[in-house]
């Protein structure tokens, strides 16, 4: 029996939660952060001190070299060499020669593409960016149309614009191409070819038909077992031998074939991983619905399998992007090749030039690869429909 008067007798009843008290003094603030993150144990403390010493030792000279001592503008090598080396800098000077990058910047972008035709490259780049950005932002509608334009119409337009020879545009032969232009052309075509080809090869490897399976396995394992350099050599030296006498092939096209075939073998293994991860019930469910092989594959299996292996696919793209630099070995000048070629330029050769040029090229490669990997992490999180956590 509840006594109705009891509530009246109580002097105080709390109706809301008490506010949380702040953590004790020792558990907050900078001192605590330092203690838990840098000096938790004696070993940790020793490691931290070692790391700090390392940073103090290395960072200031690097920053000095990169920015403070660096030369930003100048007409030729004299600004980047010491008096003994025939320049104007005092003895013992050492710093980045950004003047070199400044002077050669156009070459790094376009190679030897003719001056008055460079607007064509700019136009293609602008189209590329305009089509790519809406494709990458999930909220923008009409993805299908966008993808069709990007992967089918854009390459044709880009081909006519870059090569020329039609519609009153001057013909620009590919040996004149170079720099970032070649890097991007190689990677775009490599990506656009290797993904579908890789999927086909992966399906072939999982096929019930022995001949198709065997051929896929042989191709994939052969290509994955050898370095890209040998594949490129094959494309550049042996491909002309395989064709009827008199038929010649563009050098860039040969490199493209080599890079695309190489990447597709790696892509095939990534996609195969995804195919194997799909539970058997999905295949059987599709069969029981009466779907045929291609319906089953394109509507049920691949959408799930490709989603699973997005990180792997993007890793292959990154690998492909980095591998385009190897075309330097068969005598083409992509971004890295053109930097390498330019620091042999007598006008600019100084002890600081190679490192500066390479750091610039490395930075450009890094930006592309790093943004690809970040985007893949973003997509992976967005597409994650699983309930684990």
């Amino acid at each position: 029996m509840a006594n109705p008067d009891l509530s009246l007798n109580l002097s105080f009843v709390r109706t809301e939660m008490a506010g949380a008290t702040p953590p004790p003094r020792g558990e907050r603030g900078l001192a605590n952060w330092l203690r838990t993150n840098l000096f938790a144990t004696p070993v940790d403390a020793a490691l931290s001190i070692f790391a700090i010493l390392l940073l103090v030792w290395f960072l200031p000279p690097i920053i000095n070299w990169l920015f403070i001592n660096a030369v930003w503008t100048g007409p030729d090598r004299s600004v980047c060499s010491t008096t003994v080396q025939g320049g104007i800098q005092p003895e013992g000077w050492s710093g980045a020669c950004w003047a070199f990058v400044n002077a050669k910047f156009q070459q790094f972008l376009y190679g030897r593409y003719p001056f008055e035709e460079r607007w064509r490259v700019d136009l293609v780049a602008a189209l590329f960016v305009l089509l790519l950005i809406p494709l990458l932002i999930p909220k923008v509608p009409r993805k299908g149309l966008n993808a069709i334009v990007f992967f089918f119409i854009f390459p044709i337009v880009a081909f006519f614009l870059l090569v020329g020879g039609w519609f009153g545009l001057r013909y620009v032969e590919t040996p004149l191409w170079g720099g970032l232009l070649v890097t991007l052309v190689l990677s775009f075509v490599g990506i656009a070819v290797s993904l579908p080809l890789g999927i086909v090869l992966a399906l072939g490897r999982r096929s019930q038909l022995p001949v198709i399976k065997l051929l896929s396995v042989i191709f994939i394992e052969m290509v994955r077992g050898v370095p890209l350099v040998t594949v490129l050599f094959m494309a550049s030296v042996m491909l002309p031998l395989f064709l009827p006498p008199g038929v010649t092939f563009d050098k860039l096209l040969r490199a493209l074939i080599g890079v695309a075939l190489f990447a597709s073998a790696y892509m095939a293994e990534v996609v195969r991983g995804g195919l194997q991860a799909i539970p058997k019930g999905q295949y059987e469910g599709a069969d029981s619905l009466g779907l045929n092989y291609w319906q089953k594959t394109s509507l049920i299996v691949l959408p799930q399998a490709l989603k699973l292996v997005i990180p792997g696919i993007v890793n292959t793209f990154i690998g492909l992007f980095k591998d385009t630099s190897l075309v330097y070995i068969i005598g083409m000048f992509d971004l890295l090749g053109i930097v390498r070629q330019n620091f042999a330029d007598a006008n600019w050769s100084s002890p600081q030039t190679p490192a500066t040029g390479l750091i610039f090229a490395g930075f450009v490669f890094w930006i592309f690869c790093f943004s690809m990997s970040r985007y893949s992490i973003f997509m992976e999180r967005r597409l994650d429909t699983s309930h684990k956590k």
């Binding site: 993150n37 840098l38 938790a40 144990t41 940790d44 490691l47 931290s48 790391a51 700090i52 390392l54 940073l55 019930q208 038909l209 022995p210 001949v211 198709i212 051929l215 052969m222 994955r224 077992g225 050898v226 370095p227 890209l228 350099v229 040998t230 050599f233 094959m234 030296v237 042996m238 002309p240 031998l241 395989f242 064709l243 009827p244 006498p245 990154i318 980095k322 591998d323 630099s325 190897l326 330097y328 070995i329 890295l336 390498r340 620091f343 002890p351 600081q352 190679p354 490192a355 390479l358 750091i359 090229a361 490395g362 490669f365 890094w366 690869c369 790093f370 990997s373």
Partner: protein, 397 residues
């Protein structure tokens, strides 16, 4: 036979044409692909033969016996420009293996340290390792090689202004010179002692494991093994009367003389491959350690193991199971990336082969040799790794 039976039974069922029999269709598709491939190969071979005849190149491997006529800057075996092409390729092959093996060892050590560092409690160490991995994973290996070769090693001072390093070694733009050990009389005994030490440690480890299984008593295997492996050669060294002297590099007016020298091409390739691959190995190691369920660590603490024991006996064996397959493919990648040597002139298999290809025009044979060698290395490595993997794999009932 079986397919025919099924095909016939398909035909018997009313209203279904044999065109819709998946078996028949499968055979048809395969036949089409097969014929297409055969035709393609026939066409390629025909063209190649015609092209070779036109340019007067005799196919076949007879050219391997011809005189090479070019020099190789570094060689592990005897080689002169009078040696044969076959010998030159052999030199290149050994150089590939040499840089690959040393690179793999260095990259593994560096990669494991950085991978563990990325999981460290220490914020600073974690961040440094993260920056390292993110930098090296996102730039091309060729760029790293160029950076070491053109950016660092070739701008070092000339020989007469060599940088002095500790232990009377010198660094200049012709490479790294260091004291060469000269083994004296009876030095072979030290090697024998080392082998005896290794064998004894192996036997002790086996005996100790058996005893622990039988009685539960723990024997200090690691300390005993260290004492055996280090102590026995040291003892032999003392007993034979210190048969070791060093040939120090001496700084002359124009050049360094004496000592052993590592060429900048090798150094650049080795450093670049190690640094580059270490970033990938670090990620592999990190993923492997993270892949071990936390309950495993907690359970081993509950059993009373100390943290060090839990890591060594419970976490690492399980992590290795996850790490080994990707690690083996990283090793293969390093070996294949060593073919970038051609860009800076380290005479590996591809660089030597490229020279031969230019001199003789035997492109098919040279590319064939490359493919066979690299495929062979790949197959042997993956075979070894599969064997090791099978040994480490989870044994389930």
């Amino acid at each position: 036979m079986a397919s025919q039976d099924i095909a016939e039974s398909g035909r018997e069922s009313p209203g279904v044409s044999f065109l819709y029999d998946p078996k028949i269709r499968g055979i048809f598709y395969q036949a089409v692909v097969f014929i297409a491939i055969i035709t393609l190969i026939y066409w390629i071979v025909g063209n190649t033969v015609a092209n070779l005849q036109r340019s007067n190149i005799a196919s076949g491997f007879g050219f391997l016996k011809g005189r090479a006529g070019f020099d190789v800057s570094q060689s592990l075996v005897q080689y002169t420009s009078d040696s044969t092409y076959g010998r030159a390729l052999y030199v290149g092959f050994l150089n590939t293996l040499y840089v690959a093996i040393i690179g793999i060892v260095t990259a593994s050590i560096l990669g494991f340290l950085i991978g563990i560092g990325r999981l460290s409690q220490n914020w600073l160490i974690r961040k440094i390792c993260l920056v390292y991995v993110e930098v090296f994973r996102n730039i091309p290996p060729l760029l790293v090689i160029f950076f070491w070769y053109f950016g660092v090693l070739s701008v070092l001072p000339q020989a007469r202004e060599s940088l002095s390093l500790p232990f009377s070694s010198y660094l200049n733009n012709r490479g790294f010179s260091f004291p060469a050990p000269v083994w004296g009389h009876n030095a072979g005994l030290i090697g024998i002692a080392l082998i005896v030490g290794l064998v004894l440690s192996f036997l002790v480890a086996r005996w100790a494991r058996k005893r622990q299984m039988a009685t539960g008593q723990i024997f200090p295997v690691y300390r005993t093994a260290a004492a055996l492996i280090l102590g026995l050669p040291l003892l032999a060294f003392v007993v034979t009367g210190f048969p070791l002297s060093f040939d120090l590099p001496k700084l002359g007016t124009f050049n360094l003389s004496g000592g052993a020298q590592v060429k900048p091409e090798f150094l650049a390739l080795y450093l670049a491959l190690s640094f580059y691959t270490a970033a990938f190995i670090a990620e592999t190691v990190r993923a492997g350690i993270l892949g071990v369920n936390k309950g495993q660590t907690e359970a081993s603490y509950a059993l009373g193991l100390r943290p060090g024991q839990a890591t060594r006996l419970v976490v690492i064996p399980q992590a290795l199971r996850i790490i080994i397959p990707p690690l083996s493919s990283q090793y293969l990648n390093l070996t294949k990336n060593s073919s970038l040597a051609i860009a800076i002139g380290y005479p590996d298999l591809v660089a030597v082969g490229g020279t031969i290809l230019n001199q003789t025009g035997q492109s098919i044979e040279v590319v064939g040799i490359w493919m066979v060698v690299y495929l062979g290395i790949s197959l042997i490595t993956s075979g070894l790794m599969n064997w090791f993997n099978a040994k480490m794999a989870l044994v389930e009932r």
